[in-house]
């Protein structure tokens, strides 16, 4: 197989019906869906409502967590302000697990050192570590 095909081709993963049904129910208009299977969990990466998302399911179709890439200009102002106090925001992912919402930021300081900043749903720092 040539390299281009290897890059572009979407991996074939046998996904249980319960998992697919669950995904369709929660993200009905998902596009460009790509499944993978790792450590007994099914993971899917896709576009939905113009946003990039990653969702994880167990093999019964229970949604365990999903992550949404938030474009920098769409980060809620209050949260953006708090995160910006730690450095320049380079990436923001909203994490939904069970009923908890958190934000995972990549930020960098003036010396371009990059950090992972994890906050609660109000933008309060939970953890910060060097990447």
């Amino acid at each position: 197989m040539d390299l281009f095909k290897k890059i572009i081709q979407v991996a074939t993963v046998k996904v249980p019906k319960a998992v697919i049904d669950s995904m369709k129910q929660i993200f009905p208009a998902a596009k460009n869906i790509e499944w993978s299977h790792d450590r007994s969990l099914f993971e899917v990466i896709f576009y939905h409502d113009d946003l990039e998302k990653i969702a994880r399911y167990d093999d019964n179709g229970t949604l365990l967590e999903y992550r949404v890439n938030i474009p920098l200009e769409k980060i809620p102002k209050r949260i953006k302000k708090k995160a910006s106090e730690e450095g320049e925001i380079m990436n923001c992912i909203e994490i939904h697990s069970v009923d908890i919402i958190r934000f995972e930021f990549i930020i960098r300081d003036k010396d371009l050192v990059r950090y992972l900043l994890l906050t609660d749903k109000s933008g309060n720092k939970i953890r910060k570590e060097k990447l």
């Binding site: 040539d2 281009f4 890059i7 572009i8 990466i45 576009y47 474009p71 920098l72 992912i93 990059r114």
Partner: protein
């Protein structure tokens, strides 16, 4: 030395150097990997002179950092990870490479047709010319994943991003690559 170099594995060389032994053995690693490191650097910085300079720096840095090679992957994977990390950090600092700005001004269309003519062969040179049109960080992601078959956690580490960010950026890079191919 020539005979020695054919016999000894990278991992064995590293083990012997770390044990405080024959430091000259590193010249074997240097000769083995300089061309490969140079190729990767050139793919990212697109200047032969600069790529040579960076390759020398990377192999020296790798020697200084040998203690951080834990042996969980092959030595070559570890060295390539150091290579990508060094080049991207260099570009971010010296060339003001800023992926978020570039990405927001190069939005992907909402609906993407993922079909393409699978019977059409694409040469390596054609692929490289398409990859050159991507942002360097996206190009590096594709090279790490599909040329060097690095796991996503190692790619994330090398680019100093989180694993989720690496996954999303990789998908974006693949989508953009497909669109570029279709434009031609």
């Amino acid at each position: 030395m020539a005979e020695k170099s054919l016999e000894i594995s990278d991992e064995e060389i590293v083990r012997r150097i770390r044990k405080g032994g024959d430091r000259e053995l590193y010249s074997i690693i240097y000769k083995r990997y300089y061309p490969k490191v140079l190729d990767k650097c050139y793919s990212l910085v697109r200047s032969r002179e600069l790529a040579e300079e960076l390759s020398t720096d990377i192999l020296s840095k790798a020697y200084e950092k040998l203690s951080s090679y834990k042996g969980n992957s092959t030595f070559s994977s570890w060295l390539y990870s150091v290579t990508y990390n060094y080049c991207i950090d260099w570009l971010r600092e010296k060339k003001k490479l800023h992926y978020p700005e570039w990405n927001s001004s190069n939005e992907l269309p909402e609906i993407i047709d993922e079909t393409y003519d699978e019977d059409q062969e694409i040469s390596y040179d054609h692929l490289m010319s398409l990859l050159d049109k991507l942002h360097t960080e996206e190009k590096a992601l594709i090279m790490m994943r599909y040329f060097d078959e690095m796991p996503l956690n190692k790619i994330a580490e090398a680019l100093r991003v989180t694993e989720s960010a690496a996954k999303m950026r990789l998908k974006r890079a693949k989508t953009r690559l497909l669109l570029l191919y279709k434009e031609l």
